[in-house]
Amino acid sequence: MSDATFDLAIVGAGPAGMAAAVEATALGLSVCVLDEQAAPGGQIYRGITRPAGLDPQVLGPDYWEGKALAERFLACGCDYRPGSTVWHVDAGELSFAGPHGGGTVAWRKLLNATGAMERPMPVAGWTLPGVMTAGAAQILLKASATVAENAVFCGSGPLLYLVVAQYLRAGVKVAAVLDTTPWQAYLGALRHMPAALPGWSYLSKGLGLLREIGAAGVRVVRNVDRLEMRGRDALEAVRWRAGASEGEIATSHAFLHQGIAPNTNLARAAGCAHVWDEAQLSWRPRTDAWGAASRPDLYCGGDVAGIAGARAAALSGRLSALAAAADLGRIDAAGRDARAAGLRRAMRRELAARPFLDTLYRPLPAFRVPAVDDVVVCRCEEVTAGALADAVDAGAMGPNQLKAFTRCGMGPCQGRSCGLTAAALVAARLGMSEGEAGYFNIRFPVKPVPLGAVAAAGGKPAG
């Protein structure tokens, strides 16, 4: 049990959570930061305080930007609790669990900075050992200097190309890049080009990565429209099709990626209203310009409130910290707005390239909902696309009925790996928009926790 009430509790120590903690402590707020990982940085700056022994050139300057932020965060005087998984949020109190036990933290304002996760890419065989996300490849590289030779990278988006480039800089052989960006996407993205110019640094960096991959002579197959991971007990080959051509590449490692999506489970369980973002094909909590959610005591900052990248996440975390300070009466509205002006200018630059990127790297429908019936959608309960389609035909009217009919989304990951796929599938089959079809109801605990953690939190009732 905790004895103090913190002015601000922050869930997540990625760029948004770290920057918010620095800003809030500087304004005199008492701050507690709880994070699942053993060290600060979130996924984007994973391992930033604990160098894994890599040549700094491998990860590149964007990664090392996180170092100064992490150092300021560790020195800011907040109560930082690594290894703490928040599994319940009540009015003014949260419960957490971790290897060092669990407990509760009392707070006046809460910032949910739970970040993003990989968008599911349910292709045939994606549950086979040896198939991982591109994010996983990068985490292994950043935090553990661990790499796989002769891997096949499949999908599209800046992260995919970045990891390939980082592998190449580290001297690791890459078997192939199977790029699923359709050529039509380049045309569609062009109309967003003029508006994207203030965000030129993102575009030039992206082009630089593609040049780097091209110059290394890695085999790149473009316009890939079908993928299959093949193998009996582990991955043995990746089969691809691109229009009229197809092929198969023997490998024991494949890394998939088709963008990232907000990790909304905590915000949903806490009762925050969510909106469907058609440009980003994902749900995000409804927030105002300060990150305030539909619940008056709760803010959402960083990628959980919409994918915008690490720098924008840090800015949005600071904006929420300013709003919390004003709401708690530590600064007045004029002081808040004066401090926010520069942050908002920087934010506009960060967001300028986003419509271009969202259009260019919009995942193909065929990779969002499997066209083949025996492809697993729910990895935990092993529910296939065919079983879900049958359930819709048998009368399931939305994601939650799919769950009741098939157990899809009821395993330990609590729908994180299948929710967007299942909802898109039911929407497509019933002829609804995904916004209309809705999403799983998410309830506490938002991560599986041992009974001992529940006992340590004082036997919180569910929900």
Binding site: L54, T146, A148, D233
Partner: protein, 107 residues
Amino acid sequence: MFRSLATPETPAIGIEVDGRRIACAPGENLAAVLLRAGFGPFRSTPVSGAPRMPYCMMGVCFDCLAVVDGVPNSQTCLTAVADGMTVRRQEGASAAAFLAAEGLADE
């Protein structure tokens, strides 16, 4: 097979994986150490018994579960290694497998 690009730190500690000692550096990520050691599959699924290995490495997917220091359903991707830590494969439905492993299944 995964390999390390880093020169090994000293002094190394050791964990015990299915009875085999694996050297690693203090504080390293357990899932990364296990992948480099060729440990696998980490678990079999409760539904079909299919083999699984880490997929997301960020605490989202729960495919990296193993029995760590006797505790089933441990997320190895969120665990830091400690000297003497023991790791075992997790078979199928974890509770039943745990009880059987502890000799409690039929008591």
